[in-house]
Symmetry: C3
Subunit: 155 residues, 3 copies
């Protein structure tokens, strides 16, 4: 299997592309339409366990939320990888939808979601630049701290 | 009017494609861009009444939420049908956005939204496979239990 | 710089296209993929200040929320304008994602988001017709009352 530039950059950051997480319902992880790809909502799975659970701003700190967002982004890249011959075939990340499970009064959603945005910028450079939504969610499936969706354009 | 395969399958399930619900604001129910279609957020309308109101996990059970998600999906198919010559012209359901109006601490959003996913898989088979987001929403327009968006690709 | 029809209509409404607001994180304001454009989540910035903060239904009235949604839509048009030679190159607004920061029990999200929808219909006519999602969000970045995303198709 050819080693992609993107995977090399992940390795330089001490990261490794995980297996794409299984959906938790009657749906699939990623779909392609034309040269557009969209993932399902990704949770911070590490293997078969959520890296953390709970709400940012109460059970979790902003830094812990940041790390969860980073893991969600990594899982989303793994989903894209199942539809692409290589992550080097990403022309552009289009959009990040970031949902932060947070305590009442929490306002620092952007700082949490920078965990995903920073990763994408680090491993994909200009191709990693994206639009973003950042929303606070009162109740999240499986008590996950972050849910993340990637939209990408294929070369 | 030719009877589509999709409508036949709905009938086998004891369902019938309803008229597409009217928007509740200054927008339209569905739009096509290229061969991509996207609906507005669909509520569980049955005629001019919401099938149920309230939050899943307090006023409503998971099973009642499941049924609402199923009705939302049916309404979303009705919206797509207004832009397509036939539902058989769906090449692929791309994405389901599922928003569950839920009580604090609710975690079973995936089980609720399987009401939509199962319907799509039942009536469309492989073409019904989709990506999904599942989010808990504290306050929903008109006190609806579920809001659902479909993205689809036209043949 | 040529004066576009859209900008003329804005002027007739007593409005002016503002500079596109800067993102509040590691992302960009708008991206084009093929002839599709999508903005990041827009907040009701007026210059470097949020026009209002707080929740609709407690700190803010529906009318104040409506005005915030209108400003968000104006900012989203400004984002589109940075990628288009002119706003007259919009073929169609595809989708409005409307997120209303609201107090518990609030149900009038559609009335708030009509602030965005009415503006788009006023300045773009048929090209401004769009699908819409309307969701109540318990906690919003920077305590903003509304967050809005536009999807548009380019001519």
């Amino acid at each position: 299997m050819p080693w992609s530039t993107v995977e090399s950059r992940l390795q330089e950051l001490g990261l490794q592309l995980p297996p794409a997480p299984q959906p938790v319902g009657a749906y699939v992880g990623v779909i392609r339409v034309g040269n557009l790809l969209v993932t399902s909502g990704q949770l911070p799975w590490v293997g078969d366990r959520l890296f953390r659970t709970g709400r940012v701003g109460s059970e979790l700190t902003v830094e812990q939320g940041y790390e969860c967002a980073r893991i969600c982004a990594l899982n989303a890249l793994a989903q894209l990888n199942t539809e692409l011959a290589s992550l080097d075939h990403i022309r552009q990340i289009i959009r990040v939808e970031g949902y932060v499970h947070c305590a009442p009064g929490f306002r620092d959603h952007p700082k949490v979601l920078n965990g995903a945005s920073d990763l994408l910028n680090q491993v994909l450079g200009e191709k990693g630049q994206h639009t973003r939504t950042a929303l606070g969610i009162a109740d999240m499936p499986l008590d996950a701290p972050v849910q993340l969706v990637l939209w990408a354009e294929e070369v």
